[in-house]
Symmetry: C2
Subunit: 210 residues, 2 copies
């Protein structure tokens, strides 16, 4: 299967499906209907069936989907057999939340190092992850391709430049700054203020009562 | 203008536009082209022009958009003249990050109270916001309609139920749990693990080099 054929909207939902199926499997469940899946992941079941159809017809009417089979399928699709190492830049409250969050529980992404400018934090371990000084990015980063930015907005561009120079190809940007990087670098931007503002706007203007 | 006519995808970008225009205005800039806007907010300029067209033709060829006019327009569209109060439930690292983040700088959303189960935190102020015990939700919440959930996943459903009973209509859910609430309640779900996994997946399967 050519995975480039999966629509991006579908691809975005894969990690969500994967995690829920993993939970089901751990609970010993053998099969799941698209309706159950729908209720659990809050995606309508028509969308789920369409998403799954991109991988071939995996479900059976009146039976649903085989959990173990689906899980194996998603595991290989999401490259869960391969660990991706991630660097976290900025060990403030948000960064610390990431370090303490156990990403490994359901997927093979691991924050393996963190960086901060605060000498008090440098040399410590948070959630088992060593904190280095941000001046040592160049020396420590090595083969890592993915970084999480949880630094003050004002430092975002200069740090992003350093990361790109060092070979980072993907950045999860939690600063309010829209960083400028070469086109080939993928930046996903999550702005907490914008998310909150969007929720408030939708509450006021889009009723969910139908 | 009937704001229900704005597509939801456009509506989601409004806070982003608003914040950038606010910055421009503070810098004393009088006008902005869709190209400049595009580079700053990382949305392609065709999309920006289409988005803006829903509000009527606000731009002029060769001149661009009038910053002050746009800003006034967005301010009223986003109800920036009205303050929305928000409650934050769960004062861990992520919750503390929210409390220290100055939402008021660019918009009229204000976290006015926080709740936690930890007696050591109850009674303190974080970022100027009082922390109450989660058992006092019922007494303290009053007229607040929006809540941010930064609690452990295992508590998400029971807290969400309490919030809904108390009249909350919008929840920004940062727990990995998909909470179950009545249909009329709007839940925006941000799962940090899923965001990270999606970035890694996109990096592997969708090249940005064209």
């Amino acid at each position: 299967m050519d995975q480039n054929k999966i629509p991006q909207a579908t691809a975005k939902r894969l990690p969500l499906y994967y995690r829920f199926l993993n939970n089901l499997n751990q609970q010993g469940k053998k099969r799941v209907s698209s309706k159950e899946l729908s209720e659990a992941v809050k995606v309508d079941s028509a969308t789920i069936r369409r998403d799954f159809s991109y991988f071939g017809a995996l479900g059976k009417k009146g039976y649903g989907y085989n959990v173990e089979y689906l899980l194996g399928f998603f595991r290989s699709t999401l490259d869960q057999n391969e660990v991706t190492e991630v660097a976290l830049i900025g060990v403030g409250n948000l960064g610390t939340a990431f370090l303490n969050y156990n990403f490994m529980k359901n997927n093979n992404i691991r924050i393996t190092m963190a960086f901060d400018a605060d000498r008090e934090k440098v040399g410590t371990d948070i959630g088992g992850i060593p904190v280095y000084h941000v001046d040592d990015l160049d020396e420590k980063l090595n083969h890592i391709k993915v970084a999480i930015l949880t630094i003050p907005a004002i430092e975002a561009d200069s740090i992003a430049n350093k990361l790109v120079e060092k070979g980072i190809t993907g950045i999860l940007n939690f600063t309010p700054a829209r960083i400028t990087v070469p086109k080939a670098i993928r930046v996903h931007h999550i702005d907490l203020a914008v998310e909150l503002q969007a929720l408030v706007y939708f509450l006021k203007h889009y009723s969910l009562d139908k």
